[in-house]
């Protein structure tokens, strides 16, 4: 069923290229993340095409990625998704990065029967519709908040033996608040203080000074590396020595640089993508070295997630033996044990990837240990 079938819903490849849309935050507030994701996608596309393309039902299709910028806005995302699905006739879409932008795209991709894989939409509700049913075309490559936040809570309880924690969460997206909420739900000790910051904040001295004497055993700080790095730095300089636990938004080589190597000690974060396992896992190792070669920097998590998102599209096309977007969506829901840069994943009934989660520990700015948590 490779031939374009006009009576069938969705888009199919024509000729020997399969178009994949990329709906990303390339400008605006989330541009930093969007641009990292774009690099991951570029790497995946060039790898796939270097091998001749995706093999669908015996025929090879090169992937042609159509990049469009949604300005980090919901309306921009809706418009971009409509353009990709209706005008560009893409077979699938990678993106958007944030939950808000990703949910805004759902009505349009659903109408056009085109699947979308968001590398970083973490809100549990993203893949679920109003009635609790799964959205047929919405997928993600990252953990959802409850899973990740819960894991961090259990880690704090069991491994760090923390009885009291302070939470400092990013309040400008659902990511920080969602993780904080999930953490609180699962954590069995006491949360002595919950403080929020905004994306782009640079000065955390006030928050840290105010919690300093609250007698906690650990800090849970869900957010992105650019702010958490500064929190780590300022906390350590202030003399707060307790462990700091964070989330995969921290898993970026820049974290240690921002915090300063000596400050980045006793820092933990949940991540699907452990640089330590890179030594043992071939897929991860390949990804890391290829990325470094192509972009001259260490691969950040967002690039890895986007890289995997693109591979999910390719895998779904191969598994479903079709370049038709509706078929790809169906096949994507059935992906099993796909090896990716962020682990081996299986898509569950709610379109969330099941993959093992690791917790990395940093000492002097280096990852020294990875705990695997169930």
């Amino acid at each position: 069923s490779t031939a374009a079938n006009s009576s069938k819903k969705g888009n199919s490849a024509s000729g020997s290229t399969m178009k994949v849309g990329v709906n990303l935050e390339l400008s605006g507030a989330a541009a930093g993340y969007g641009q990292q994701m774009k690099q991951g996608i570029q790497l995946a596309v060039s790898e796939i095409n270097a091998k001749g393309g995706v093999k669908v039902d015996g025929k090879k299709y090169k992937i042609s990625a159509v990049y469009r910028d949604n300005k980090s806005t919901t309306s921009g995302s809706a418009s971009v998704s409509a353009q990709l699905a209706n005008n560009d006739k893409v077979s699938a879409i990678v993106g958007p990065a944030t939950t808000n932008d990703a949910t805004a795209a759902i009505p349009n991709i659903t109408k056009a029967a085109v699947a979308q894989v968001s590398p970083a939409a973490t809100d549990p509700g993203y893949t679920i519709d109003k009635n609790g049913k799964v959205q047929p075309y919405a997928f993600r490559a990252c953990f959802e908040n409850n899973f990740q936040g819960g894991t961090a809570a259990r880690f704090a309880n069991n491994t760090l033996k923390a009885k009291k924690v302070a939470i400092i969460a990013d309040n400008s997206t659902d990511y920080g608040t969602g993780l904080a909420k999930a953490f609180k739900k699962e954590f069995s000790g006491k949360v002595v203080s919950t403080q929020y910051f905004q994306e782009g904040d640079k000065d955390f001295n006030a928050i840290l000074t105010s919690i300093k004497n609250k007698g906690f055993d650990a800090i849970y700080a869900p957010g992105y590396y650019s702010e958490i790095g500064l929190i780590v730095k300022q906390a350590r300089q202030m003399g707060i020595k307790t462990p700091i636990v964070g989330s995969d938004g921290m898993a970026d080589p820049k974290l240690a640089k921002i915090a300063g190597a000596s400050n980045a000690t006793d820092v933990y974060y949940t991540t699907p993508f452990s640089t330590l396992t890179a030594a043992t896992d071939k897929t991860v190792k390949n990804f890391m070295s290829a990325f470094k070669k192509k972009f001259h920097t260490d691969a950040p998590t967002f690039s890895a997630l986007a890289y995997d998102s693109m591979y999910m599209v390719a895998k779904a096309a191969e598994d479903g033996k079709s370049t038709n977007s509706a078929d790809i969506a169906k096949a994507m829901a059935k992906i099993k044990n796909m090896k990716g840069a962020t682990g081996t994943m299986t898509i569950d009934a709610k379109h969330n990837p099941q993959k093992s989660i690791a917790i990395e520990q940093m000492t002097d700015g280096k990852v020294v240990k990875a705990y695997s948590v169930k």
Binding site: A31, Q195, G200, N205, S210, I258, G260
Partner: protein, 292 residues
């Protein structure tokens, strides 16, 4: 009490950056009544310049600071020349939109050229903490405070003691009449932009050193906050901008100190509105009631 003092120190060092930025806003606004939306982005340019010369030319910190001020001054003058001067006789709101355009251009242009993710600013001065009476102050916090105060005093002197200061006031009130006094408004306005932008450039380098990260969008939020600071202080007033900057810094710190961190920005605006309702021209603003 002790914590409060520590928070005050936190507020002052945050505030000194707002104050440096607010000065540029207040001067430009004071002279041509333009909310120079791109001012925060000049601060970003200054930070990037500092980053490059420190990282690739390995210059001394003070050289980086001074050269960033010079470069920012030129950038400010260039922007004024290209984007605002043609609109000198247009409605003010038009120039405001152009300023917004310039701001977008700088933010997105830099993001296009250098990527939007943050970079680490070279830590050329090693941070050391001083403990005085149980309070912790870092050498960098002190540096920022001192540089900010020195620059503010220098600025105040320039404006009070030189003819340029008088000329700026005259151009602000009535550019045509100022011309009749032998003042060239274009020179005055260029000078104003240069001065304000230099301060922003200095703030950029200091911020880079203090927080260690810079990115193309770093000017957006501080830019708006600094404008608010200038307004609170009474826009057009140099001491007002300084006081406003410190006030906002302390206020933000205070909101977080009492545990209302989620409402940090809202609290600033609540205070802003209250101040404006009591003092419709800000703290130091002169309320000139129009004589009819």
């Amino acid at each position: 009490m002790h914590t409060m003092m520590q928070q005050l120190i936190n507020g002052l060092s945050l505030g000194s950056i707002y104050a440096l930025l607010a000065l540029g806003y207040t001067m430009v606004y004071g002279v041509i009544k333009l909310i120079n939306f791109a001012h925060g982005d000049i601060y970003m340019l200054g930070a990037f310049w500092g980053y490059y010369v420190l990282r690739y030319w390995h210059v001394n910190f003070w050289v980086a600071l001074l050269s960033a001020m010079v470069v920012s001054a030129f950038a400010g003058m260039l922007i004024e020349f290209l984007a605002y001067r043609p609109l000198r006789h247009s409605p003010r709101i038009t120039a405001l939109i152009t300023a917004i355009g310039v701001s977008y251009l700088l933010e997105n242009g830099m993001s296009y050229l250098y990527g939007a993710s943050p970079r680490n600013f070279p830590q050329v001065i090693k941070q050391e903490n001083f403990h005085i009476a149980g309070l912790t102050v870092s050498n960098i916090q002190l540096l920022i405070l001192v540089v900010a105060i020195v620059l503010m005093v220098a600025l105040q002197l320039i404006i009070k003691k030189t003819k340029m200061g008088k000329a700026m006031r005259a151009v602000a009130v009535d550019p045509d009449a100022a011309q009749l006094m032998g003042i060239n408004p274009n020179h005055v306005i260029s000078f104003t932009f240069a001065l304000g932008s230099a301060l922003a450039g200095a703030a950029g380098v200091l911020i880079g050193l203090y927080y260690n990260t810079i990115d193309p969008l770093m000017g957006m939020t501080p830019g708006i906050k600094a404008f608010v600071a200038a307004v609170v202080g009474g826009i057009g007033s140099i001491p007002g901008a300084s006081v406003g900057g410190f006030l906002i810094g302390i206020l933000e710190t205070a909101t977080q100190a009492v545990g209302l961190s989620a409402y940090k920005d809202a609290a600033v605006y609540v205070v802003l509105i209250v101040i404006l309702l009591v003092l419709p021209s800000g703290i130091f603003g002169k309320r000139t009631k129009e004589k009819v």
